[in-house]
Amino acid sequence: MAQTSQKGPGNTGNNPPAKQLTSCGDVSCELLVDPIPRPTPDPIKVTLKPRMARVTFVDHHKPNSKVIMGYAQSILRERGIEVRDEIVIKEDASTRMPEAMLQSLSGEGGLVLCGISD
């Protein structure tokens, strides 16, 4: 009979917990190997609270993304929020942000919005 190290809800869907499963038969128990690799602690320190009230947009070239971002810029400006004019361009939506761009954006004092869907 299998046992879990902690009781929890049933199907965990997209967020499987890192739990140890054990199978116990009549005379012995056997560990089950968790197949899911877990991330190591993130070495990048992210500032969650902006130092200044300014929004910078990053467009990653998904269909319609620039249109949506331009519209969002105008709404924010109407509400009196400072928005950086330039929309930073990430050339390819499917790949990791280049290190230089990541470093540049990490120096932004305001809020950076990126990664919208289609």
Partner: protein, 337 residues
């Protein structure tokens, strides 16, 4: 003997999120050890990384996944090459998992390994009810699912997806007209190989009355060019063309592989302005899409994006086109050693 305890273990795996949605073989440590040995790894060997998510994948994760998918230890060498391919950064495994494009990882098996492990390469080659195809293809999708979501913190965003996200493994005929599939990626003909790419679902191509190779290739080319092809925006993916024996008998009379590729590249095109009219070209165009108003547009940026595989049964004049996901520019081909 299967016991109720085993059934309970399966249910526990599923409750714990260790599943692709189907019941799994529980990854008992003793089974994983056998699989690790077959793959030629130690449990804590690092077999790949997903740098963008700070994920290091160790061999025991891959071996556990292989057990869960139902793979035989005899597949060990193949699974090792497959694991290395899946975690090759060029494949962009995590991108394929989370994209709105709903991509799956297509596994193409070619060379002597096809017969060695009993892969089905004849009837229903794209959806074979055969253990080797089903479990190897399932292993690849489970690796995508388990390793591509940042340990569960990311969500899959596929808009519609396709059934290949459960299993998608195609084996090539051992004897081919144009040489083994992997020779298109520079491997020697006598090798065994796995080739990987992220793809959409296959499109069937039916032509029962054409009696020339050109007619068959024109039909295939038309399938590459329908308005809905994702390729029109970026042209960064490519296509796999599946040609079964009855169509191949016509095509191979008139074309070798390079000629067929050239023929499709030159002739499978659509008027750019019509694509723009129906919204298949960004307005204004994206620079790297290389849009030329007024010109006939190919869904391919270059000839190398088009590859051919020979598989499938006889008695029907069907082929198939498998569009590659546009967010994964590279296919990965690994020799099995």
């Amino acid at each position: 003997m299967t016991t109720y305890a085993t059934i309970e273990d399966i249910e526990n795996c599923m409750d714990n999120g260790w599943t692709d949605g189907l019941p799994v073989i529980p990854p008992y440590g003793s089974l994983v050890d056998v699989m690790l040995d077959a793959m030629g790894w130690q449990a804590h060997d690092i077999v790949g990384e997903i740098a963008s998510q700070n994920i290091v994948v160790r061999a025991e994760k891959a071996a556990a996944t292989a057990v869960m998918a139902g793979c035989k230890p005899e597949y060990g060498a193949l699974l090792r090459a497959l694991t290395e391919g899946l975690l090759d950064p060029l494949l962009n495994l995590s991108g394929a998992e989370v994209t709105t494009g709903g991509a799956a990882i297509l596994v193409i098996v070619s060379g002597p390994v096809v017969e060695q492990h009993g892969f089905e390469h004849g009837p229903n080659a794209l959806g074979a009810n055969c253990r080797a195809n089903a479990t190897v293809g399932r292993f690849a999708q489970m690796m995508r699912y388990f390793c591509g979501r940042g340990g569960g913190v990311l969500q899959s965003h596929g808009t519609v997806g396709h059934p290949g996200r459960l299993s998608f493994c195609i084996a090539e005929h051992p004897q081919t007209e144009w040489g083994p599939y992997h020779t298109q990626y520079g491997l020697p003909a006598e090798a065994s190989a796995v080739s990987l790419m992220s793809t959409e679902g296959p499109n069937s191509v039916n032509n029962h009355y054409g009696d020339t190779g050109a007619q068959i290739l024109d039909t295939i080319g038309d399938c590459l060019c329908h308005y809905g092809q994702t390729a029109w925006y970026y042209r960064s993916g490519g296509f796999v063309v599946v040609i079964p024996p009855d169509h191949m008998a016509l095509v191979a009379k008139d074309f070798n592989r390079d000629q067929a590729r050239e023929y499709i590249f030159e002739n499978a095109r659509r008027q750019t302005d019509l694509l723009a009219e129906v919204g298949r070209i960004a307005n204004p165009p994206i620079a790297f899409a290389e849009v030329e108003p007024g010109a006939l547009r190919s869904p391919l940026k270059n000839r190398e994006q088009l590859t051919f595989i020979e598989c499938g049964g006889t008695g029907g004049r069907f082929s198939a086109v498998i569009p590659r996901w546009v967010g994964s520019t590279n296919a990965v081909c690994k020799q099995i050693v």
